[in-house]
């Protein structure tokens, strides 16, 4: 059952007449008003201290406002006191590791240029080897491990790394996981999953650059 609103303790004349001591007013308001109301009107704390700093007019005004707004104790979501909060937190168990927050749609697209075997897909932690050529949107090549001639291919090795472990840009980690062995695909990666605002000036990748890779997944170990 909801408690009834508190009643006025003094009549208008009593309040006007200087009969009511400040301390009584303060006590009344502290007893009946919501915490937030008291905070806003600077009426929290030791009564003596409040009496020192608050003028009679302020208190009368607050008193009136209290009844007008009806912001009594229990009428509002009382802010749980920080002390209680603090006590609760110190007892709280250690937070469990959170799963990474879902960031929304993937920031790359893949188009298959040559089909793979469609059965062998790499898992996180597998070592994959690939040939690749990376270009900027304007077509300029900034990196490639494909040697110029087919003959020379025997002398160089495809790039090998453990996929899905954060060793390469995110676009690659995510893109390679959905390629099958033998597949050649075109990955278009937004800058957020590539080199972002910084780019890679040493490698001629400007800030906020979208990168396009032609990748051939040679093997999975």
């Amino acid at each position: 059952m909801m408690a009834a609103d508190p009643e006025r303790a003094w009549s208008e004349e009593q309040l006007k007449s200087e009969e009511v001591p400040k301390k009584d007013l303060i006590k009344f308001i502290q007893d009946n008003a919501a915490h937030s109301f008291l905070a806003e009107h600077k009426l929290l704390g030791n009564i003596k201290n409040v009496a020192k700093t608050a003028k009679k007019e302020q208190l009368l005004e607050a008193y009136e406002q209290l009844f007008e707004s009806r912001r009594f104790k229990g009428s509002e979501m009382d802010v749980v006191t920080e002390q209680v909060q603090a006590a609760k937190i110190s007892d709280a168990p250690k937070e469990a590791k959170m799963e990474p927050v879902d960031e929304g749609p993937p920031k790359f697209t893949k188009s298959v240029l040559k089909k793979g075997d469609k059965t062998n897909f790499p898992k996180k932690g597998d070592t994959v080897s690939c040939w690749y050529t990376g270009t900027l949107e304007d077509g300029s090549v900034f990196d490639s491990n494909v040697p110029a001639t087919a003959k020379k291919k025997k002398q160089t090795k495809p790039l090998s790394f453990k996929v899905g472990m954060g060793k390469v840009i995110r676009g690659w980690d995510e893109g390679l996981l959905v390629m099958s062995k033998g597949e050649t695909a075109r990955l278009e990666i937004e800058s957020e999953w590539a080199y972002g605002k910084k780019g890679l000036p040493d490698s001629k990748i400007p800030p906020n650059a979208k990168l396009i890779f032609e990748v051939e997944l040679v093997s999975i170990d």
């Binding site: 929290l44 920080e82 603090a86 025997k154 453990k162 060793k167 390469v168 840009i169 910084k198």
Partner: protein, 592 residues
Amino acid sequence: MALEQLCDVVQRCQAIKDEGFSPEDYDLFFTAGRTCIEEGNSAQVLSILVDEKNKNIVRCMGWNLLGPLVQILLKKEDRNLPHCHAILSHLLEVCSPKELLVGLLEQVEEADTGSIAETVTLLLKPLQTALLRLGVKKASSVGMALSTLLSQVARLPVPVTKEQEEDDVFGLCHCCTALLQFVKPFVEEIKEVVKDNNKISKDNELRVELLKFCMKSLSKPLLEVQLKDPDTLLKSPLRDFATEILIILSSIGESLPDLLSRNVLKRREVPGFLEEEVRYPKESLACLSYLLFVDHIAVDIFPAVLSPIFVLQCNMEYIDLLLSRTEESRLQKGLELYEKSLNRVEDNNLPVDLLELKTFFSVPQNLVKVMTLCPDQTLRTKGLKVFQLSIDKFNTEAKYKFFKGMLKTSHHAGVEGYIIKNIKNQVDFSLRPCNGNDWFLGKHLLPLLRLVLCLPHGPETDLLQNLDRIMESLNLLRYMLIRDKEWENETGIWIELYKIEDNYLKPLRTGLNMSKAHYEAELKSAKENKKISSKDSKTSVCSVTVDNEKLPNMTPEMQIQVLQSAVFTFDLIESVLARIEEIIETKERPLL
């Protein structure tokens, strides 16, 4: 005379069957031959040596003449040179390659500092010729040769300015360029193996020797060298050397990204594990990383797909190594590598689990040492700059954990003060709209504040020594009390306040009063002492000896200055403390 002796012994030996020459024969041949060469009769010696009849003799004994021959060649006297070169060529053709190697390498090893460059330059081609004659068994000899050559070349002074590199007075640049030529056929051989078999065994002996050579070069001289960029010096032999070493590594099957991440990726214990460690010295890898990421050497053979955070993780091992040294050149390189690696990462991006890694703790520790102890001021300043840069890259939770760790372990008031200033910036940031987080507001902030707002030794804490820390913590507190309204109390400071008063402000006030009183008394007595002994105002008050040298005496004037400045410092602390006490006084505290 000597020529006759030579002819005699050769004639005698012609008759001996099956190369059964005696030690005396060897000695005579050597002594006579040497004298002839030294006396300038190289033409005659040549004709004796090329004579078909003497083929066996030359094959067995000829290589002993290498010593005197090389010495004459180094003297570069025109009249002798063509014949001596011809003798050398002949010996290289006829004598046993192994023995030739011994003779040649001995000359390299024995070269004194002044003649290293010349000797190396002279002997590289002959050495190469001898080695190539060894055929498939050459690997260990190649290794030995490379090791000897590099050891000597590494002794040459490293050019510092671009002019010095251009002038190459001591010949380091020339030798490095020549070494690349020397090593070329062996690298080509390995490339052929790779081409034919699509792969190469990691333990292929020749490959291993080339790997050792590259690793050794990376350590000396390349780690010493300060490479100039193409804008400063267009043609730089040292830059070319560095580039070629990286290309060689790649050609012999060492993937540069794999090399960099060696210390980061977990390795299973494989047989010969220790051998693996020896093959890849950390210092060499540190140089490799520096060349790639700071000097931008061979970037076009380094894949541009690695994640910047992973690159940082790999480089932390090398940064740690470089920053734990005392030589300023190493510290400089460590700081530059750290700065470059951090700059590749976006702000607020490094996750908290990186702090679990050993290097993410030891590097800041080393950095603090540089910031506080390094005698060179530019390094100290740069250290601080990189320190702040590293903080900026951590995400909020990681910053929190880092600050907490540093406050607990740095034991240096200046560093603590700097961290506290960073905490203030984070609190300020968090209080702005939409920036709220659990770490610098409320819940977790209070435990952090308890580390900030405390006196290590209560009221007896040395306030002067801890000045930086105390001032920053008072600034932080003042800031929070003004910025965070008590009815909002987003930081939780208003609830904590009574504790802060008891644990920090009151003891601080006590300590401050005590210190002030003490120093003011000292000041008064010092002034009185000064008046009394005004005639001998230069007499010392106390003497200090450091390292058996007496420091200049502290005069009464100086003592008064010091005491006065201490008193001013206390006034400074007091002014902030008083302001805080004032703020608390005028605002209501939620007493519950």
